[in-house]
């Protein structure tokens, strides 16, 4: 009797548990109206502005509700892929030039070119060059949303103390042989515990109290060097591969490139002007805002964080001019539609609105990113000047100067190439190999990916 009561109770619990398990898996009935669009992005700072845009959109299209899903950058792409495979990917998502080639070649993105043509969507309202980056072989996978580029962030207290004016900071030159006036300024701003600066022969490299430049060695161990060596290398006339975009034969074995990488590494290894690879384990920004260094190169997407955490006035300067001119990497994000979405007509309305002048101008007022539409970018710069007390004009100047910008180097096999260059450059930055030793074999390996 006792056993059978226990039996029944256990069975009941078991059945209940199984029911609860499967209740959650029930398929949601497809609805025609109203529609909910799942829209995902990675930057938590940007949720408020996109919520504002979504609210405005909802007022225009009352039957469409936008549900914003934010996942941090480190999990964003794995989540997205898992969603593609399991059939639960978001309807519209923020896309990136590094990843969209692989999604395109696996047929996960909707080609919006026919829709752009049908609805006569203007593609010339954006910063030059951005819209084309999202086209490939006549197809289009996104409309420009925002752009980013790099500049020099510097500690104005430190530069003032060393007698370097803001005008001087914006007019520096660089070359891979002796680093130009840029290296002179870095040396001047490097101070050891005894007060010697980098120009003095008595600089004690083991007791540096203030670094002239915070290079990002871990962050630069990849195939683009977006906030590290990329802009310098391209300013020597070098280019990553054999085409402006979608190149298939790489030039990492070129002399100019090896010289640039070695110059970048030697800032720490030989000169003592920069913290080491190990010192950079938590990124350059935390060192910069803690007053450990006078300068760092960084993208505009970190401007807000840096300005809010630095306890000193932050200056922003144009990148130095290299042998063939000043060059800055111009990256642009876009929103793509997933092929597996069940409401692509509604998705297109949302994507169209996101890429419109109205939406991008609104995003600009939040002062967080620089929208692809000029009015939006100007609004953002103005908001940042007022709210953050910094002058981000150099970013806008760089983006607007014809011929100075170069696109993020879009290629196939981007993750494999990144892995190869990561190990190669880590070896250089941790002083295990020289650039010329390691780049020849690495380049051969990279080119093999295309065979």
């Amino acid at each position: 009797m006792k056993i059978s009561r226990v039996w029944v109770a256990t069975l009941a619990v078991g059945v209940l548990a199984v029911l609860v398990l499967f209740a959650g898996c029930s398929k949601q009935a497809a609805s025609s109206q109203p529609v909910t669009i799942r829209y995902s992005l990675w930057d938590a700072n940007q949720v408020p502005q996109y919520q504002a845009v979504a609210d405005k959109f909802h007022a225009i299209h009352p039957n469409i509700t936008i549900k914003i899903e934010q996942t941090g950058w480190s999990n964003y792409w794995t989540n997205l892929q898992t969603g593609f495979v399991s059939g639960s990917a978001p309807d519209v998502f923020t896309d990136h030039l590094f990843y969209y080639p692989v999604f395109e070649s696996n047929n996960q993105l909707v080609d919006i070119e026919p829709l752009v043509k049908r609805d006569k969507v203007p593609t010339d309202i954006y910063f030059g060059g951005l819209a084309e980056l999202w086209t490939h072989n006549g197809k289009r996978f996104g409309l420009p949303k925002d752009w980013d580029t790099e500049a020099i962030f510097y500690n104005q207290d430190m530069t003032k103390k060393a007698g370097i004016s803001d005008a001087e900071m914006n007019d520096l030159t660089w070359n891979p042989d002796n680093g130009g006036t840029f290296q002179q300024v870095i040396a001047k701003l490097t101070l050891d515990a005894n007060g010697n600066n980098g120009l003095s022969a008595n600089l004690d490299k083991s007791k540096v109290a203030q670094y002239g430049f915070i290079a990002d060695y871990p962050g630069g161990s990849n195939a683009q060097g977006q906030t590290t060596w990329g802009c310098f290398a391209v300013s020597t006339g070098w280019w990553y591969n054999n085409a402006p975009v979608w190149g298939t034969k790489f030039n990492f074995d070129a002399t100019n490139f090896a010289k640039t990488i070695q110059w970048y590494a030697d800032l720490n290894l030989k000169k003592g002007y920069s913290p080491s690879y190990a010192d950079l384990s938590n990124g350059p920004d935390s060192l910069f805002v803690s007053g450990k260094g006078a300068m760092e190169e960084q993208g505009d997407w970190q401007l807000k964080w840096i300005a809010e955490h630095a306890k000193f006035p932050v200056g922003i300067a144009l990148l130095p001019t290299g042998p063939v001119g000043r060059r800055t990497m111009f990256n642009g994000l876009a929103d793509s539609i997933w092929v597996g979405s069940k409401q692509q007509a509604a998705d297109w309305e949302w994507v169209k609105y996101l890429a419109s002048k109205e939406s991008e101008a609104l995003v600009g007022t939040f002062g967080d990113v620089y929208p692809a539409v000029l009015a939006g970018a100007q609004a953002s710069v103005a908001a940042q000047k007022e709210k953050l007390k910094v002058d981000p004009q150099p970013f806008l100047t760089e983006a607007n100067t014809k011929g100075d910008t170069f696109p993020f180097p879009i290629t196939d096999h981007s993750t494999q190439i990144n892995a190869i260059m990561q190990t190669a450059l880590q070896a250089v930055f941790t002083d295990h190999k020289t650039a010329s030793e390691v780049l020849g074999p690495a380049n051969t390996q990279v080119n093999q990916q295309f065979q």
Binding site: T10, V85, N107, Q108, P275, D279, S281, S286, T415
Partner: protein
């Protein structure tokens, strides 16, 4: 009698059915599926293509894989012996001097933290410029160490972080084991004139063998699978010095989209750990116990 036995057996099955279901759904079926995937080439976004034993042939010739195998082996060597000794020491100290619940609670705290949190906190503490560890070293006159940014120090540092995290928990397992040893044996030994050290070697250790076996077998298997700490700190670098097996599998499967190859490596690791566990079972003679 027989009916009662059958009813009891049935009850037992019902009770473990929930666990069994979980084991089947989350372990057994995916493991079998993994072996199936290892015979294909699959990038998740297109259908899988059967390629027979190609992935295994690739594995045999992959220098990075064998390097990962070597690195993982060294990691286990840095991690387990020291962790076991420290844990045993902690257990004996608790047993002899301070077995209060407060002390045991404090010792188990690191184990209660998620490995990702442990990794992130240590990442900040070990930064040579901003971290507290090098600040302390400099204060006592020692040179600052690069720790996670050095090819020579990164792997031992990760081992150290994990020793910190698990020594308390392992110590408590040993402590529990110590409680099973009858004090009469120690009294008898003392009457025979044995000192502390001799008692430890002749009484404590032999009688602790089942617990030691459990601790060492499970911690070696766990150590071979180290992942979280590396994922939030060094991600395999610098220059492959922390590229352990599970991290390499993750990179190949989820970052390079080579699911078939990742599955083949995972199957290899599974067989390897099975052999390691079997060898340990034999060495520790887990079928018998001096206490029985």
């Amino acid at each position: 009698m027989r009916v009662r036995g059958r009813a009891e057996a049935l009850t037992a099955w019902v009770f473990i059915s929930a666990s069994l279901l979980g084991f089947a759904v989350f372990y057994a079926i995916p493991a079998i599926r993994n072996i199936a995937i290892s015979f294909t080439q699959w990038n998740m976004l297109s259908p899988a293509k059967p390629v027979g034993l190609k992935n295994y042939a690739l594995l045999l010739g992959d220098g990075v894989f064998w390097h990962a195998f070597k690195i993982t082996f060294f990691y286990v060597l840095y991690n387990i012996p020291l962790q076991t000794v420290v844990a045993l020491f902690l257990a004996v100290m608790m047993d002899r001097f301070a077995g209060s619940i407060v002390i045991r609670g404090v010792l188990i705290l690191p184990y209660l933290l998620p490995p990702v949190v442990v990794g992130l906190i240590w990442l900040w503490m070990l930064n040579p410029i901003l971290g507290i560890v090098d600040a302390f070293l400099k204060a006592v006159g020692l040179p600052a160490q690069p720790f996670l940014g050095s090819t020579a120090q990164a792997l031992p540092t990760i081992a150290g972080m994990n020793i910190w995290e698990y020594m308390g928990f392992t110590g408590i397992l040993f402590y529990a084991g110590l409680q099973t040893i009858p004090t009469s044996l120690y009294e008898a030994a003392q009457l025979d004139g044995a000192g502390e050290w001799k008692m430890f070697w002749r009484v404590t250790l032999p009688l602790l063998r089942p617990v030691t076996a459990f601790v060492v077998i499970t911690s070696v298997i766990g150590s071979f699978q180290v992942f979280d700490t590396i994922a939030v700190t060094t991600t395999g670098g610098p220059v492959n010095s922390t590229r352990v097996l599970v991290w390499y599998i993750y990179e190949q499967a989820f970052q390079q989209f080579k699911m078939g190859y990742g599955a083949a490596m995972a199957t290899f690791l599974f067989v390897l750990l099975g052999i390691v566990a079997l060898v340990q079972f034999r060495l520790f003679r887990t079928g018998s116990s001096e206490l029985a």
